[in-house]
Amino acid sequence: MRKIVLEVSLSIILSFLIGYIMLILMGYDATRVFSIVIREGLSNPTYLMMRSTPLILTALAFSIPSSVGVFNIGGEGQFYLGALASLIIAYTTGNSLLSTITGMAAGGLLSALIAVIKVKRGVNEVVTSIMFNWMIYFSLLYLISTYLFDPLMPYQSVSVPKNARIEYLTIQSVSIPMIFPIAVLTSLAMYFLMYHSALGYRMRVVGISPKAARYAGFDPESSIIISMIIGGAMSGLGGSLLILGHTHTIDSTMSGLYGMGFAGIGAGLLGRNNPIGIIFSSIFLSMLLIGGEAAELRARVPTELADTLIGMIVIVLSAPYIVRILRVRR
């Protein structure tokens, strides 16, 4: 436990340090930028919960297959597809539950396809995932600009009707977007699935050693497919909740959806692939994303600052050996 905390905090400190130097080199007031990022990122708890919701789910989409040894970097495409399916169902039926289930099914179906191509044809999931991400990205752009646009506001899609939206719950003047507790409960359920169920045990054994799993009579291939279906469904649910509880529509450039799947990979790794850790890492990265947007308004630093920082955190986390070297020297 201490080792994990050390690794995670070191990766954050190191990447902030590099980011700080980078900002100075580009001619920004780095101290001011970082204080805006942290202060504004935490200033509105309701908004922070809202933004953390999809991230928790795309992080689970990466981490659950990752414990089985599969790299689902297709969370981005599964997220888009979940959002689209959910929007269409909510718009046509006005039923939020049906819409959520469809969103999960859409995400799960896509990841199942990636898993089957991997298992049956031996094709690396990284390549197929990215191909699907781009195909779905352009398909959504086409559908929104051609069929699903709002006649009154053509730069966005039709909206989720009022009765299908997931609203707020107000407890003592703090309003909680209902999508946030849904994401947290899902994450807890995933924790129990992974660490306190037979299915989760099998999946983790496959992740540690496929040979040992086969010897114990567990079929690695079915574990891979099941973990991918769960992962894709999580991402689809993320897209669903974003549409039903936050944006209610998809803008024609997809800026509200873009990058959530990739940020989820960062949140999953930072949470050490543990569903409970993911809740905290997603809140932390959402703070960076919100703070990054505030920094754009206040200090004219592009929002891609957040991407840069998340990328650096992931790079440092890829090599836990760095921490060991620093510890030996101390």
């Binding site: 980078m22 580009m26 001619g27 790299f71 970097i73 191509i117 044809r121 031996g122 094709v123 690396n124 990284v126 390549v127 197929t128 990215i130 191909m131 699907f132 991400n133 781009w134 195909m135 352009f138 398909s139 752009l141 086409y142 600009s145 051609t146 990739f262 990979i265 960062g266 790794l269 630093v301 592009p302 891609e304 600052l305 957040a306 991407d307 840069t308 920082l309 998340i310 990328g311 650096m312 955190i313 992931v314 790079i315 440092v316 986390l317 890829s318 090599a319 836990p320 050996y321 760095i322 070297i325």
Partner: protein, 302 residues
């Protein structure tokens, strides 16, 4: 019809160059036992740096050099993490892709104050009119064939492949596995960097937000399809370059025939072609089991 085919082929020859350079580079890297899925990030970063250098010096050849150097630096980082720090190569690559995208767009906005694209910069001229042939095409082909010869017909190539198949045996043969893997990673990333710079100074003429658009991952697909063979990756790069050409050519052609259509939204449909092509070809023609045996595993010296 004949004209269309000539024009498409010519476009394919333009589009295949970054795919060829990146896939040949990755083959050298993977044959030594290291996976670098940060190709996409290297393409973006080197495209940005080369547009920056070409913009300020007005010399596209300097831009190309700057792209190569950006690739080289990325290779030093990835090599250090995967070989000497025994990091997780896939995670390091994913992180680098996010980082490279972030910093390039940060740089784009910081330099030109524009969120979508840089201004046009000077380009390396095509030759062979009416076809468009970049001087980088013969260079990339020579690099591919040289790498094939090096890997499969020389003793140093054999030593490099030994590091990817059985590093312990390689070590027993007297090969410095760690150094060989590190150098192969740096070389592969440098070639990819030239590919990224070419997209700007040899082809498009400016840096845009989605300049790479998954080409790094298409190159990874070519690596697997070619069976880790640089000579065969020439064919793979041409096929996927052809898909790329079709996706750009068809909407323009269709609008010529039927001027009433909305080109912007229609072009989205055609942009799907290269990715769909990769998916179909990879799913039906990939033969498993030819990857270097120790690929992606860090080597720990006893």
């Amino acid at each position: 019809m004949i004209e269309d085919i000539i024009s498409l082929t010519s476009q394919a020859l333009v589009a295949m160059i970054p795919l060829l350079l990146a896939s040949v580079g990755e083959i050298v890297t993977e044959r030594s036992g290291v996976v670098n899925i940060g190709l996409e990030g290297i393409l973006i970063l080197s495209a940005f740096i080369s547009s920056l250098v070409t913009f300020s010096t007005n010399d596209p050849y300097l831009g190309l050099l700057a792209g190569a150097l950006s690739g080289l630096s990325a290779g030093l980082l990835h090599g250090f993490i995967s070989v000497y720090l025994r990091g997780d190569q896939i995670i390091a690559g994913v992180g680098f892709n996010t980082f490279a995208y972030g910093i390039s767009i940060l740089g784009l906005i910081n330099t030109w104050g524009h969120h979508g694209a840089s201004p046009m910069v000077s380009k390396i001229p095509f030759f062979g009119a009416p076809l468009y042939i970049s001087p980088l095409l013969p260079i990339a082909l020579i690099i591919a064939i040289t790498c094939w010869f090096w890997l499969f017909r020389t003793s140093s190539g054999l030593r490099l492949r030994a590091c990817g198949e059985d590093p312990r045996a390689a070590e027993a043969m007297g090969v410095n596995v760690l150094r060989m893997r590190f150098l192969a990673t740096v070389l592969g990333a440098t070639l990819t960097g030239i590919g990224g710079a070419y997209i700007v100074v040899g082809w498009i003429g400016q840096f845009t937000r989605h300049i790479s658009a998954g080409r790094g991952f298409i190159a990874l697909a070519i690596v697997a399809l070619s069976g880790w063979n640089p000579a065969l990756s020439i064919a793979g790069s041409f096929i996927f370059g052809f898909f790329d050409a079709i996706s750009l050519y068809l909407p323009v052609k269709i609008q010529l025939i039927n001027p009433g259509l909305n080109l912007t939204s229609l072009s989205y449909v055609f942009r799907i072609i290269p990715y769909l092509g990769v998916l179909i070809i990879v799913s039906f023609f990939f033969r498993r089991g030819r990857a270097p045996r120790d690929l992606g595993r860090p080597y720990i010296k006893e």
